[in-house]
């Protein structure tokens, strides 16, 4: 068998993590938006009987979709690792990178394992007392959108690192986009209080605006991480500009020659 070219690429680990990131976010979108239909979320004002109906109409989707997360959800660590690496490549203290890594690493359990467990337990035994089913429904949606500090503090740390960085790893506009992402976690806090309206967990502000900002933010950082990998020179100074493909190939050939 021919040896794949990727294995001789000095950036192979970065590329593997980047493709795994793409894979994880695709899976995440498909599971939450299509298979389980937990995004857009169910209505927070449902009565216990309506919640029973919601679980019944999404029964297979919830169980199959969250099974996929139970198996592959750990790949979320690849994007965290790449972002941590981006901060190590900056001219800032390692404290930024390590803070980001630890915040995201521990938040996986409340941030996405809880919704998977709560919805699976709910769909698993449909004959349960409707009040208990609604308790699980609330646990699922509120733990998912209400785990806020991770994105809030994590984004602020990343923002500060980008704005302080002298190595030009990320453009300043993305630093400010981090602030927008952090603000979505501020405006989602009222979803712990309101059962209906724009601030409820499915409301215009707490869900629709937030999901658009998060989508743009995620798309932007996946694209910018790709640029970072292409520009990476394994030095410690400023990252070079992104060359056109011909130039990139030439630089790589020079780099690889003994």
């Amino acid at each position: 068998m021919r040896r794949p070219a990727l294995l001789d690429d000095p950036k192979r680990e970065l590329w593997l993590a980047w493709y795994a990131t793409i894979g994880f976010y695709s899976l995440y979108t498909v599971v939450f938006f299509i298979i389980t239909r937990t995004q857009p979320p169910g209505k927070p004002w449902y009565t216990p009987t309506q919640v029973v109906g919601w679980f019944a109409s999404n029964h297979e989707g919830l169980l199959i979709g969250f099974s996929l997360i139970f198996i592959l959800g750990g790949l979320s660590a690849t994007s965290i690792a790449l972002i941590t690496y981006s901060m190590r490549r900056m001219s800032v203290s390692r404290a930024f990178a390590y803070s980001y890594l630890i915040i995201y690493a521990v938040s996986a359990v409340p941030g996405f394992l809880f919704i998977c467990v709560a919805m699976t337990v709910g769909a698993f035994r449909p004959g349960r007392d409707p009040e208990i089913l609604r308790w699980l429904y609330d646990l699922g949606f509120l733990s998912f959108s209400g785990t806020m500090g991770v994105f809030l503090i994590g984004s602020l740390i990343w923002m500060a690192a980008i704005l302080l960085d002298k190595n030009r790893v990320f453009p300043a506009w993305f630093g400010y986009l981090n602030l927008c992402n952090a603000l979505t976690e501020v405006v989602v806090a009222p979803s712990w209080i309101f059962h209906a309206g724009v601030f409820a967990w499915n409301g215009v502000i707490a869900w629709w605006i937030n999901v658009v900002v998060f989508g743009l933010y995620t798309g932007a950082f996946i694209f910018l991480l790709r640029n970072m990998i292409l520009r990476e020179d394994f030095g410690t100074g400023p990252l070079p500009d992104l060359l056109p493909e011909e130039g990139r190939r030439r630089v790589l050939a020079e780099f690889m020659s003994p």
Partner: protein, 288 residues
Amino acid sequence: MPGFERLPGPGEQPVRPREPNERVGHVSVRPVPTTWLPGMKQAAQPIGYHLPPMKRLTGERIIFWALPAVAIIWIAAFFLFPGFLPPMSPEWSAQRVATFYADHTSRVRYSMILFNWFCVALIPILMLIVERMRGMAHRTPILRYCVIGVAGAAPIAFLTATIFWLLAAFRPHRAPSLTQLYNDLAWITFTCGVPFLVALCLFLAVAIYLDERARPVFARWVGHFNLLIAVALVPAGFAGLTLTGPFAWNGFLSFWVKNVAIALWLVVMAVVLGQSIRRDQSVEQVLV
């Protein structure tokens, strides 16, 4: 701070002046010089660095030899919990589940307190593996960050399950439907909570495969072994889909294959980790 460097004590090696980019204090051997590229197959040469007075491997050996003690506690807690041998069935009625917790309150409490105390002892062991990964022929720390990224969540998912079991046993005479709810939450979190372990095995397998040298940190078969364990853990993720059969939480695949796989992983990784630490130690002695 200039002028305040520690002077060598009697019998100690004089402190060598530090290079501008030198990492101080934790690396005595860097088998992968910064100029390493994939495809360059030359044998790694140990590079001597200044060693701090307290050898880092002493601490690593302490963590390593704590593992057998912790493993004994894990095994004891496993046998102490009355719901594992044989595993409780998801088909039990709420009343039967409530009776179970009323009858075995103490054993549930003591076993789950033990697990709650000691399940996070997995993290230092994983960090020893992360430290060995520094010696791998990788250009970037990405795979180490990936392992650190899942190392915390893996035992914390299990810790969450122990909390649900303890809650079920805290007031065993509450409404049976509530005891059943806690029991379901515990078993689903315990059985399905494998994503971080699956990812851990995958990351380690990739890291080992990419460590392409004549004398890698972990042999190639350890990579195959990690892939195999990742595959063995997959069926447990489907435990929510059924109350009976091999995929149910008490089934052959979701309970026995998964838990035996985790136990086997611990034993095999402990052995190869011990060998790797010993190898580092002999290099360290040569350098001193």
